[in-house]
Amino acid sequence: MDTSQHLQLLSATAQGDRKAFSALYEATSGKLYAVSLQLLQKRDLAEEALQEAYVRIWHNASEYNEQRGSVLAWMISIVRYRALDMLRAAKVRLDYQTHESREDSDTAISASPENNLFERRDRAKIDDCMDHLEKPQSDAITLAYFRGFTHQEVCHHMSTPLGSVKSWIRRGLERLKKCLET
């Protein structure tokens, strides 16, 4: 399904068309769920974020405008902010880590191929610019984007001092900005 079809479905959704909303869910939920799974790493939490995102999309469909990117990118931003909120609610993360070892295998994806979907993703539009970054810069940004890692967590994951991580991300984003402008 292409961008213009997403837009048609979203416009109809904004008018209260439930069939269009259902079709929009069919067409987009797989991508939104993938984003949510990467961040939350647990199916039940990822589904909770997904549900909340679609409730918001129904209520706020008329808020979309083309300055916010493609319809799909806008929808992804909604599920991603919700998942980030859940992730930042410190207890969820702490409990998840504490209980990871004895989790019910139905809901945990820690050992499954879904864990790091982003390592075998398609090429994104922004990749033309990501290619211009130094490897540690793009790695740090990728981890922050897909896994929702904080500076501290990126620093732990990449075994690098915090100052370097902050600078990689800051400079990486600056370089992305310059590239996106050209």
Binding site: G30, Q67, D104, D122, R123, A144, R170
Partner: protein
């Protein structure tokens, strides 16, 4: 902090979208998003580009229950008796502790207005020059309103906030807006039971509308999410 500095604004917007701007800095930036359209547009710019990364993931099929739950939450289908646990049991002690910590933070926080409370929706009332007049945050249990310096102060009038329903019923008063500073208004039950087309602000005699209907509607605005 000088948010007019383009480089700083870009740095903050990009890290806001990426998620690495967190804690109080994130809350401050969220408030700035309500106030300034240039900041909103800058954030949209980064959302547009960075979220193409999310689009590049291989789609994963959620369970069929997810769509069922969404329809239930939107009132499309009747709520069935839940068979699954809404929250993993191992998180329950954690949730109790989190609640305790949350209230402890509320009690001892030096500036309560910057406590991070999740905002589901916001509305910005603007004048004809697109200057923000009031920032309205829709919380779970209340509406938090902040007046900006752009509000015209009338000694003999109050401003009243109304919700306009999509079903065409008469406007429903939500209460008086602050002329300066901040206040909270109750979030009426009706707020969740009807579809809201817009919010409106009217100019009223002191104390609010004498007849339960807006006297002179000055501004309208739609609800939107962050």
């Amino acid at each position: 902090m000088n948010y007019n500095d383009e480089n700083l604004k870009n740095a903050l917007s990009s890290e806001y979208v990426l998620g690495t701007l967190k804690g109080r800095a994130r809350v401050r930036y969220q408030r700035l998003l309500l106030e300034r359209s240039d900041v909103r547009q800058n954030v949209w710019h980064w959302e547009k580009h960075l979220n193409t990364l999310g689009e590049s993931l291989e789609a994963q099929k959620p369970r069929a229950e997810v769509w069922q739950n969404i329809q239930q939450r939107l009132g499309f289908i009747e709520i069935q008796k839940k068979t699954s646990k809404p929250w993993p049991t191992f998180l329950l002690p954690g949730a109790a502790l989190a609640a305790t910590i949350f209230f402890a933070v509320i009690l001892f926080w030096p500036k309560p207005e910057i406590v991070e409370v999740p905002t589901k929706q916001i509305a910005i009332v603007q004048n004809a020059k697109a200057e923000a007049l009031w920032l309205i945050q829709i919380m779970d249990d209340k509406l938090h309103i902040r007046a900006t310096d752009n509000v015209t102060l009338h000694a003999d009038n109050d401003y009243e906030l109304w919700m306009l329903a999509k079903d065409g019923r008469a406007p429903v008063s939500l209460g008086l807006l602050p002329k300066t500073g901040e206040n909270n208004l109750d979030r009426p039950t009706l707020f969740d039971q009807i579809e809201i087309a817009a919010l409106a602000v009217s100019l009223e005699p002191l104390g609010g509308s004498p007849n339960g209907q807006p006297t002179k509607v000055l501004f309208t605005t739609e609800l939107m999410m962050l």
